[in-house]
Amino acid sequence: MILGILGGRIYDPRNGKDGEVGDIWVKDGRVVAPEDADREAAQTVDAAGLVVMPGGVDIHAHIVGSEVNSGRKLRPEDHRGHERARSGNLRAGAGGTVPSTYLTGYLYSELGYTTVMQASAAPLVVRHTHEELEDVPNLDKGAFIVMGNNHFVMQCIADKQPEKARDYVAWLLRASRGYAIKIVNPGGVENWKWGKNVAELDDGVIGYGVTPRQIVQTLASIADGLGLPHAVHIHGINLGRHTSARTTVEMIAALDGHRAHLCHLQFLSYGAGRGHVHRSEATAVAAAVNASAGLTVDIGQVIFGDATTMTCDGPLQYGLHRTTGHKWINDDVEGESGGGIVPITYKPSNPINGTMWLTGMELFLLIDDPWRVFLSTDHPNAGPFTSYPQVIRLLMDRDYRREMFDSLHPRARRGALLPELDREYSLGEIAVISRAGPARALGLEHKGHLGVGADGDIAVYEECADKEAMFAHPRYVYKGGELVARDGAVVADVTGRTFSVAPEYDMGIEAELREYFKKAYTVSFDNYSVLAGHGAATEIVACG
């Protein structure tokens, strides 16, 4: 099939296009040069006056797998009133902050997004992640594999055997069909199994004597050494605490030039304020980010309204349960991870929530290079991904931002820097933070741009003054050249791909792992890998 999107204003930052009028041709799912498209056979769309962008790329969201599904099951109240009926070949679903799988795909299509990365999966249960990924239509996907509290990794560090750790990590990425290394509260999740946590980069992990610093450094250097397309993806220590900004800055220093992605940075950029209210330390954190060229971040912008917090950070979730009194799920996962879930509602009238909101905004505005700061709400932790258009408006429209700032609790507003930040993102910069930037950070060569060879993932918007309305109702959305949404409504259900990596390693490690598994796991070595059994069909992205 050949598709021509003609005469639109093209925002394709990777290829230097900032609103220039032109045509995009797609053949067999990929962007082709105009001369390679048979215009006679083509289906064409008149995009005159419309904004044409690559499909959105979400670098960090929780959309599938064990924690997300526990969140769905936990919250019938979250779904009611947000259901969608089946229609034609489109499946029914239940929405809210933790939507069912089919609806998740549709809702992303309706925003113009075509690629989403599942932010965490414990390898022991990643078979579940892959099962759900198969049931998420209209998106290309990948899963990050949590390793920051992995016993084998920590033992290798304790034994000073970094090569063995590297071979293990490579094996694990293959065995789990994962896309990247994820770290969540390194060492803290293991300590939580003793009812404790870590507070400093040099605190010890019980039973191993290693430190969060060593875990981060080891895994960051392994990611670089293996040439993984995406850097180590880090949720640091002290998330949500008033010490988080300090330890985030320390963590950036500890990375020592290694590539890294720091996720939902907003949750990790607080200092101690007066009373019990944290204050934003966005200035210090943004300065550290600006000074570290190898670093990318996403924000995890708080959205006022309902959210469902879910992370592998068990002690954090317990703390949230204790402060809010809301229902709480904890799940300790043998040998490698843990996690928790607590529903929450963010309110502008709550001074802490107000501080969280403005910390995110300040980070967006203080980090200079849009290629290194990406749009996220850490869905559904800080708010649902369906609120991305609102965040875009907040970034592009300082009056709107000011209006929302003025609605915050006075204790959140007191002394805040935000009102002084006049910066407004341009459309081209939005295309960077929601498409080109995350695609580049993920090492997805054919995503986030519209050059020849790129995937035919395209969103066409009608520009209007209200940028929230603009981004909430794309005129056309194409996935691999197929129309999947029109006028903000999904029209087709197409199967997406799952990306994974397959780094090289010394196979000799498997014999040791086979022995290790007998003691460390309650699942057979051979059944742990998703390569066994039903498996998971993935497309390998090369390491380099």
């Binding site: 599938v64 997300v68 599904n69 526990s70 769905r72 099951k73 936990l74 919250r75 019938p76 979250d78 779904h79 259901e83 969608r84 009926a85 089946r86 229609s87 499946r91 029914a92 679903g93 239940a94 929405g95 933790v98 939507p99 069912s100 799988t101 022991l124 249960v125 078979r127 579940h128 099962e131 759900e132 049931d135 939580w192 199994k193 003793w194 009812g195 317990y318 349960h321 229902k327 709480w328 799920i329 904890n330 799940d331 300790d332 996962v333 043998e334 040998g335 879930i341 607590v342 003691k519 460390a520 796991y521 309650t522 699942v523 057979s524 051979d526 059944n527 066994a532 059994g533 039903h534």
Partner: protein
């Protein structure tokens, strides 16, 4: 041709032991190693002979059976899809797709075993862990209203009572074990402490434990037949353990107060975390009943008792649960997948099931299969069909096909029915 397959998973119970070795000669299974006596049965008693589908007891070709099933469903105003717990998640996903397509009510055996557990989780949450954490860390175990000694035969040696792990190198000797039940059981005989509670008093006993955890003093000396001094001793152990785990079963979910019992236990466990790490694991029965909860949750948002009658998923246990749909005569046709409500449902529900047209998918004989209008003899997941199942702690485990019989899977049949009703 003789074959030996290793790392085979047993689908009989929620332990999903995946360390079996199965030896077969052609399609005949000769030997199963490591399975318990319950697990042996699903392999050794399996009849691998291919069978034809039946329509009203008459052997027919597959096309005819599929067409007949589609005709029944197309004529139905209120179809019910039920079972799922002995099927694989791949087939459970197809069952939801069918329900979505035809506007059916879909429910799993969860609603007659741990449905109240799901409701309790929705009310108060659930601090839990995988079974490996129990094996490696737990120094205090409390089995409440469950009897794994009879129902989950390898639970004790593999995961709990006698299992040896990283912090429990001496197994049984490293653990203190409580059983709480209304009568002595095989499990209670193996425990260090048995608290026999009066029937119907679990909630009171649990509330008293919560009270004691908070340092309050009950005004009575005996609760539910148990001296408060013994409850105090348990609370002291709970507060001072390294890693405590409670296992709960149908003794809580099917006693009066049902989900309130379970919510009280889950709340107690959550509150204990102020003092010691504590988790709870529901002792799920059938091999993949946990998978049914998972699949329904990810496709519809809800774990069981889901209706698509209005086009979108609605959740209402007591209304859309299979027993209630049938007893109220609200279903006018049923698809029964790998379970036997004919044998296990209350009389009024079972009687209605005999009145309405039924489409049954099963790998062996059953009461409901014996009066099915359309019977599809299927392969058995984990025996002659591969797939995925979820252990009681939500860990997904692959199921192998250890013999190849050419029998058709639930998944394939459901796919063909979906095509035929489309």
């Amino acid at each position: 041709m003789s074959t030996v397959v290793e790392h085979v998973t047993c689908t009989f119970c929620g332990c999903l032991c995946d360390d079996l070795t199965v030896e077969a000669e052609g399609t005949e299974i000769r030997k199963v190693r490591l399975a318990c006596s319950s697990g042996q049965g699903i392999f050794m008693d399996y009849d691998p002979r291919p069978r034809q589908p039946l329509v009203d007891g008459r052997e027919v070709e597959w096309e005819e059976a599929v067409a007949e099933a589609a005709a029944i469903l197309s004529a139905s105003d209120s179809p019910l899809i039920y079972g799922l717990s002995s099927s694989a998640s791949e087939a459970q996903r197809k069952a939801v797709a069918l329900a979505d397509r035809i506007g059916a009510v879909i429910d799993s055996t969860s609603s007659v075993c741990h449905g109240p557990t799901g409701l309790a989780m929705q009310a108060v949450g659930e601090p839990t862990c995988t079974l490996g954490e129990v094996r490696d860390r737990a120094d205090l175990l409390v089995f409440w209203g469950c009897n794994p000694d009879a129902s989950h035969l390898r639970h004790f040696p593999r995961f709990s009572l006698t299992a040896k792990g990283a912090l429990t190198p001496n197994g049984r000797a490293d653990r203190t074990v409580y059983v709480v039940d209304v009568r002595p059981t095989g499990s209670s005989k193996k425990a260090d402490h048995f608290l026999q509670v009066d029937i119907g008093t679990d909630f009171e006993v649990l509330t008293t434990l919560r009270l004691l955890v908070k340092g309050l003093e009950p005004s009575v000396d005996i609760v539910g037949g148990v001296p408060v001094t013994e409850l105090k001793e348990l609370v002291e152990r709970m507060k001072s353990c390294r890693y405590g785990v409670a296992f709960m079963g149908m003794g809580l979910t099917m006693a009066s107060a049902r989900q309130l019992n379970v919510a009280e236990l889950f709340t107690l466990v959550a509150e204990l975390n102020e003092f010691a790490k504590f988790s709870v694991i529901p002792m799920r029965g059938h091999g993949n009943v946990t998978g049914a909860d998972q699949v329904l949750s990810w496709t519809t948002g809800y774990p069981f008792a889901v209706s698509f009658a209005r086009g979108y998923p609605q959740f209402s246990p007591g209304e859309f649960s299979a027993v209630d749909m049938l007893a109220r005569r609200a279903a006018d046709a049923a698809v029964i997948i790998a379970s036997d409500p004919g044998a296990h449902f209350p009389a009024a529900a079972a009687a209605h099931l005999e009145r309405i047209p039924t489409i049954v998918l099963d790998h062996g004989p059953s009461v409901v299969a014996s009066h099915a209008h359309v019977l599809f003899p299927t392969a058995a997941y984990g025996v002659d069909a591969a797939g995925t199942a979820y252990r009681m702690d939500n860990v997904p485990i692959p199921l192998k096909s250890v013999i190849s019989t050419g029998r058709v899977t639930d998944e394939e049949i459901l796919d063909r029915i979906i095509e035929a009703v489309a």
